[in-house]
């Protein structure tokens, strides 16, 4: 574990009894108490995650708007300062470099939040495509990011003495808020399918902010939550995870994030490829008896037609589920099974997302 990268909250994870694992080169906890308990805390009260491993890449300069507009699938024309937008960076063949969250500060100042394991690859891709009137700055090591997720997040913020404006609308953010004396950028975003915020602060302030939020949430049902619950939460909400539902081999159209692909935009990298008729789609399966995980063969009417991209329990719904990539055209009455270690496990096709908050 010694050679792994540590987030600014490493000591907090150890003190909280986190079960540490190697997550893409980062030492991070997979659970503190129980993945299912942590999962349920987020659905019913609140959970606090360390997501400082995520990358923060700033795009600065007069060419920033045009550059990003060409770099990603979504349209940033309608973004005003203080807004966030989900988008995908694609290769010319449509394959995904990464999925990103874009924060707009000004026409010449944006932040892209990228997946930890992809940070260097993304930087290389961004730099390779960046024109002269754009400056790309990797600020990842300077920032800590905490995700405070769950219906009681506002209660926790207030109990922690939050000073400033809590972003009211989804996918917006506010700057220069103060919690426990720590200056934070706060966005109404998350990766759990639940209401909540993500807080960005300076790396050196992370321990203070984390401790203050945990203390404030103690009587509100807040639990420290780790990667295991982050995965079951996003899985249950059927949000794609790069490397699983989306990758260089699975493009965003196949992944089904159509809301983030704007073909009305005259040009962006990968546009032509993504406009071709889609041959594959992502579907949801309820696993009726057994448990499937990623990369297992998926059979339709007894023939292998695809593979699972994620699989596991959906703790808030009960039962086990899987997401799979299968042909774009499949009959309504198809019979689905997943090959789990040579056994055909019966499944039922269900709509995505599995879980939707009321």
């Amino acid at each position: 574990m010694d050679e792994l990268k540590k987030t600014p909250l490493y000591e907090a994870h150890i003190a909280l009894g986190g079960k540490m694992v190697d997550f893409g080169g980062w030492a991070l906890p997979v659970q503190y108490s129980s993945i299912i308990e942590e999962h349920k805390a987020v659905r019913t009260a609140c959970g606090l995650f360390d997501v400082s491993h995520m990358g923060e890449v700033f795009i600065l300069g007069e060419g920033a708007f045009d550059f990003i507009q060409n770099l990603v699938t979504n349209d940033i024309t309608t973004m005003t300062p203080g807004r966030c937008r989900y988008a995908v960076m694609c290769y010319p063949d449509g394959g995904a470099v990464d999925d990103v969250l874009i924060y707009k500060f000004a026409d010449d100042r944006y932040m892209l939040v990228v997946n930890a394991a992809n940070t260097q690859k993304d930087l290389d891709w961004i730099n390779m495509n960046a024109p002269e009137n754009v400056t790309v700055v990797n600020e990842s090591p300077l920032w800590a990011q905490l995700a405070l997720q769950g219906p009681k997040f506002e209660e926790v913020l207030n109990a922690a003495g939050y000073e400033g404006e809590i972003p009211a609308k989804n996918y917006t953010f506010t700057e220069h808020n103060t919690v426990a004396g720590v200056d934070c950028l706060v966005s109404r975003t998350g990766y759990t399918g639940e209401d909540g915020v993500e807080l960005y602060c300076k790396a050196e302030d992370a321990m203070k902010l984390h401790a203050a939020l945990l203390a404030a949430g103690k009587d509100i049902g807040l639990l420290p939550c780790a990667l295991g619950a982050r995965d079951t939460l996003r899985f249950e909400a059927s949000m794609p995870l790069y490397g699983h539902e989306m990758s260089a081999e699975i493009n965003p159209v196949e992944c089904g994030v159509d809301f983030a692909i704007k073909f009305k935009k005259p040009a962006f990298i990968g546009r032509e490829a993504l406009m071709q008729p889609k041959t594959r789609q992502r579907i949801g399966l309820k696993v009726l008896k057994g448990l499937a995980r990623e990369h297992m063969p998926v059979l339709m009417n007894g023939e292998i037609v695809g593979f699972t991209t994620s699989g596991g329990p959906a703790p808030s719904l009960g039962g086990n589920y899987a997401m799979a990539i299968v042909p774009a055209e499949v009959p309504e009455d198809a019979v689905w099974t997943i090959d789990v270690r040579g056994r055909q496990i019966p499944c039922e096709r269900v709509d995505l997302p599995f879980y939707k908050r009321a």
């Binding site: 659970q31 993945i35 299912i36 295991g228 448990l291 596991g312 270690r341």
Partner: protein, 125 residues
């Protein structure tokens, strides 16, 4: 903590022998290491198993783990309760067996008593 009415394997399984029937399960230590158990792929009555062979797969939220047999023989009973309530293994792994096997062979030499197993766990930490 570890009951002394049975024997233990190095893979953190327990085996309790009554006559020619061996009841088998996983230890609390194993259940704790696995975390929340969400599915148990039980064997079927009549299945043949052998010493060191996987006769069951326990699925936790994050991982699949094979459970190995301490005996050679035929499955005579499975704990169907685990089908609906796999979390029983987290709640009390020693009170919930996985399968009972009518055996012809048991690897006595490899098995540990409670005291030796506790020491084995302590050394593994």
């Amino acid at each position: 903590m570890v009951p002394n009415d049975r024997k233990y394997t190095r893979d953190h399984e327990w085996v309790m022998v009554e006559g020619n029937i061996a009841k088998m399960g996983i230890t609390a230590h194993a259940a704790e290491a696995l975390g929340d158990i969400v599915y148990v792929e039980l064997p079927v009555v009549g299945d043949e198993t052998a010493i060191g062979e996987s006769y069951c797969v326990v699925e936790s939220v994050k991982a699949s783990s094979a459970v190995y047999s301490a005996v050679t023989g035929t499955v005579t009973e499975v704990n169907e309760e685990l089908d609906a309530a796999p979390e029983l293994l987290n709640e009390d792994a020693f009170a919930n067996f996985i399968a009972a096997v009518e055996f012809t062979e048991i690897n006595e030499d490899e098995l540990m008593d409670a005291e030796a197993y506790e020491q084995f766990c302590a050394e593994e930490e």
